[in-house]
Amino acid sequence: MLRRTRSSRVVFAKMRSAVLIAGLMTLAIAGCGGDDESPAGSGGPGSSGDAQLAGPLTFTRGGGIAGRADKLVVQPDGSVSLTTRSGGERAVKLEPAELQTIADNADSADLAGLPEDSTAGRTQPDAFGYRVVYDGATVTTESGSVPDRMGPLVATLSKIVDRLGAK
């Protein structure tokens, strides 16, 4: 399955050498974490555990090596809808515990206190871009730059998007 031709080996060897010579090759393996270094889970410091969503929460995730374009809207009653790049839409109802986790994560994230643009400010090919719109606040961020207190929210919502099977 991974057969290489002689000429491709030559070309690819040149490419690898270029990178090695440039001293660029540092490998990072993220084996866990809903995204980046941020642990997923409910609440976190400051979480009340009984928060409720104040209104609709919209989560957008785009890019990645797959070129995703997913938009998830979570309503306070637990109804969610996912729109994808193809125009497909899925609607489901969350279990109360999962809705509670989202509400707690959103409460802990305190989005209104974060910079609207929380991106790295440099090009990161294939990184995920994220945007959360909730309770009058909008925060845009991306892999490697997700604010610590927003990490659990991004991780929880990403898991829901993955579970609903968006491309």
Binding site: S7, A18, L24, T60, G63, I65, R85, P125
Partner: protein, 207 residues
Amino acid sequence: MHFCEKPGEQFNNAYWNGEQMVFGEGYAAPLDVTAHELTHAITDRTADLVYECQSGALNESFSDIFASNVDTDDWEIGEDLPGGPLRDMADPGRFGDPAHVDDYDTRPNDDDPFNDHGAVHSNSGIPNHVYYLIVQNIGRKDAEQVMYRVLTEELEPTSGFEDFRTASLKVARDLFGERSSQYAQIDQSFAAVGLDGSWVAPEVEGC
């Protein structure tokens, strides 16, 4: 080397952050995925194609092109990933990507993550399919030599699809001659996706 400490939460992605390749669990094993990310590093240090609009689609496409050159028994990208393939250079439409400029994805280049910097992954389907056709027509050995020189010597940060065609023909002329079959076949391969030197890109917000 960085390992995450909390098992059970999958990071379903691989990316190049300008200094490091970052791989989620299961994403470092497939050779084509690793080559894809490695090529982003090469592009950064050579053509430096701006990661938006047509140049961004070319940036993505070169990563798929060189991925296909080291995983040569199919035209899928990422078929060994936990979730299966992401793209098909032989049939981009299989995953909703355009294979012809008439189907160019006109999502704007803005700060909304949904739009993926002006649909860079989606529109990579067009140059991806060009490369597939070139390999069918002249063989991979000659095709990859052309592409390597195009990326490292000819393209510029804001190059677009027609610039890609012009550069490919220039390299083909330099390597094989203007009357060679390679030159003619490359020209025909671009024409098959609507790139004949006269294509005018649709107006896209932010591009």
